[in-house]
Symmetry: C2
Subunit: 475 residues, 2 copies
């Protein structure tokens, strides 16, 4: 944090911070602070001096002004669902700024197809508000019931509909951001085209709170789909899955909203893990894909799905397939896919990765990574799944049967090393959608172009010269 | 350019610059340089010391290294089609870096749906190459026959398909950029999801060459559409046009690739201007829209267009409409729209604007701007047209009949002032898609939030501390 060596850190002015938000919203007792120091998987045990719950952008600005003047580390936190530890305070002097009270939906503009949300609005509420207005807000991911818009944008969340609608940063028209020194950038524009200088939005999105705190955003809305078709497909190989994706896109374009890949083992585990999961197909297959089409047209989508599957079958890419005949059945298909992270953890130990490679490289990457790791850890069970259409593979490895859990998890760094090296070989990314946070920070110098890292550090120094914003994260 | 007062500028080391690219590609004679000093409309008379045509990214890097060391102003230039003067050198010491020889399409990856183009690739060639591979590169604009990918990205071009596919910055997966000091950022990734630190791409796109020179990009490709429908529609009012847009989007979503607005006067002028233009409707209407739908489905799109028009007619939003029965007829519809900039200039004098407002505000904005300007300049003929779906209005005003041209053009600043003030009132932008360049630079302090301007200046200082990159543009 650019602290001069030898000079003791200044005391955190707890009372002055508390005065900004009011005593009720300034938590200091260990028991009150505790929930903000750990995340769901309990990988981190955080430390912090206090937790503040500002009720307005102006209060966030006052907090940062004081933090900047006193060198106090600030850790913004939304729904505390991040998977890379970006939201966890790791410094006893840290002040957590929780966005929980910034929960207003400030405006919905149906003709512009936009919705202005504060950072603390829970994603599911944003989705439901859009739906109630006959609109779609397409960002959709496992944690949507508790993650927040501010966190989604700060980590540039991906999810299951990015294939058609893009990642979180693609869904934003305007931003309101509090800068490190407390200045407020009021960029809540509702413009689809605006070429007046540098685009500042993308600087703050994906920066995990290290360059500023996003307090509100103008989100893009889309017309609500009027028909949906969901298919569960058994395919013989990864290459067949990829070829089927191209057929689907050639025939349905942007209507292909999801194209999810699952290893055969995943479907077995999901069915075993949850009584609500049933294998939709009669026989097991080495690989599965879940295809979802959405359309504004009320008719014709079923025929399109059938054409895709027929073309796939004819080309030898589809072994078996079923199209959901009800919303209920479609939900069952999705449950199998969405339960995979839990099912994988239920195997008694797993080492998971959120990586991406160019779409064309997904089959080779998965095959090489699985083979290399299996050679190193005999009996390990590769469980790749994820967003094939985005080249985003959640490459998990489950513990070999009978192996001791601790002994298995002790191999984590070794397995990670193999996967990240291969991601590099295929010109991929060690973090497709979960961000860097605290977890992957030390890997950055290994995987990034030195010029790129220098540029990032220069931006950090420019926007946060005192290093108060989420220190120890990302860079 | 941060030149210390009183200290004379250093001589431009012409021979050293020439040695980098070779004498053949270093132009010094006035006659050779002349075409690079003016743009098509001849608004600017530029000045420059020389023009360099580097043949590789490495040569661009050497040029910038030398320029940075010697404080030489560098002006990158692509197809020289910019409408804000961003590409025009305005300093006798300036060195123009033409990207004309950086014209390789380095790779097409059909499974990843990406194409890697160097900066000097002409847009139309990129489109055609995509088409030859059964793909679509959707960026499409008037100058596509001569503008280049580098210029498109540096100005974040918009065009007629942004409604569905986004603006230029939305079409990019990766970038290669030469920084002010000659370092090369090799960010040519082909990843749809990559959350490893700050997104640097968006810093350079739309920066008009003031933060770095884009030398290559990985562009997104889309499956080629398999059916197209084009309708030419007469509507009673601006509000009707907007309501029809919402109906079209509700029924066709992302298949609505264009929704173009034209004032009645525009269609009259287009028909008068070109013998190839015919009014597709029997009677004149106050406003027209051109709707284009594209789909991956071979069938059903005509029915969708008919449903949109039927719903619009039932709601009183459509006075008359015709759907193109052939590609030829669709081309005629488009010719009317695309000839408008020329037709408008053919009226003997016009004052044009490229502005945007939130989509919902388009009718009120156009009406108030037209009324206010008409009150100030009696007889002036408002000619609004543009991309209604993007809130992007090309608000032109034609000379009153019988008024002296010079007397009319002398009112330019006054008319601009009204339009830009109203754009601000409706929370719009004074440059929707043409950029700031030299033309609107002085307006920036008037229209931008001071915090935003300070941030932009801080970024400029960080990335180009010696101020050599396209000085006098944007900021």
């Amino acid at each position: 944090m650019n602290k001069p060596a030898g000079k003791p850190a200044a005391a955190v002015p707890l009372d002055r911070f508390a005065a900004i938000v009011g005593a009720k919203y300034a938590l200091r007792d260990a028991v009150d602070i505790a929930p903000f120091l750990v995340e769901r998987r309990e990988i981190y045990q955080g430390r912090a001096a206090m937790v503040l719950k500002p009720g307005s952008t102006a209060e966030v600005a006052e907090i940062l002004k004081l933090a900047n003047a006193t060198g106090t580390p600030i850790v913004p936190q939304g729904g505390n669902t991040g998977l890379s530890g970006g939201q966890v305070p790791l410094d006893e002097r840290a002040v957590v700024v929780s966005t929980v009270r910034l929960d207003k939906i400030r405006e919905i503009d149906l003709a512009t197809n936009s919705m202005t949300c504060e950072a603390g609005v829970v994603l599911q509420r944003a989705q439901e508000t859009a739906r109630a207005n006959d609109r779609l807000f397409p960002l959709s991911l496992g944690a949507e019931g508790s993650c927040t818009i501010g966190g989604n944008l700060s980590t540039n969340a991906g999810g299951v509909q990015a294939l058609s609608f893009g990642v979180a940063r693609d869904l934003v028209l305007g931003l309101e951001v509090v800068l490190a020194d407390g200045r407020i950038w009021g960029g809540l524009r509702k413009l689809k085209k605006d070429n007046t200088g540098y685009d500042l939005r993308h600087l703050f999105m994906g920066a995990e709170g290290t360059l500023g705190i996003i307090t509100a955003a103008v989100l893009k809305l889309f017309p609500a789909p009027r028909s949906t078709e969901t298919a569960f497909v058994g395919v013989p190989s990864l290459k067949a899955a990829l070829a089927l994706l191209l057929i689907a896109q050639a025939r349905a374009g942007a209507n292909v909203t999801s194209f999810e890949l699952m290893a055969g083992l995943g479907v077995q585990l999901a069915v075993k893990h949850s009584a609500n999961c049933r294998d939709p197909l009669r026989e097991p297959h080495p690989w599965y894909v879940l295809i979802e089409l959405n359309s504004q047209a009320r008719e014709g989508l079923r025929a399109t799905m059938e054409e895709i599957l027929a073309a796939g079958t004819e080309a030898g890419l589809v072994r078996d397939a079923t199209i959901a005949s009800s919303t209920e059945q479609a939900k069952n298909f999705w449950l199998i896919r969405l339960i995979l992270p839990d099912a994988q953890r239920g195997t008694g130990g797993s080492i998971a990765h959120d990586v991406s490679v160019p779409v064309a490289a997904v089959p080779d990457f998965i095959e090489e990574a699985s083979a290399t790791v299996s050679a190193r850890v005999p009996g390990i069970r590769p469980l790749p799944f994820g967003h094939l259409g985005d080249g985003n593979v959640h490459l998990a490895f489950c513990k070999p049967d009978g192996m001791d859990k601790a002994a298995f998890l002790a191999r984590t760094d070794e397995v990670n090393g193999i996967v990240y090296e291969l991601a590099g070989k295929y010109r991929g990314s060690i973090s497709a959608e979960h961000g860097i946070g605290a977890m992957k920070r030390k890997l950055m110098p290994k995987v990034k172009d030195p010029v790129e890292l220098e540029l990032m550090r220069a931006l950090k120094r420019t926007l946060d010269p005192n290093g108060i914003l989420n220190p120890g994260k990302v860079l």
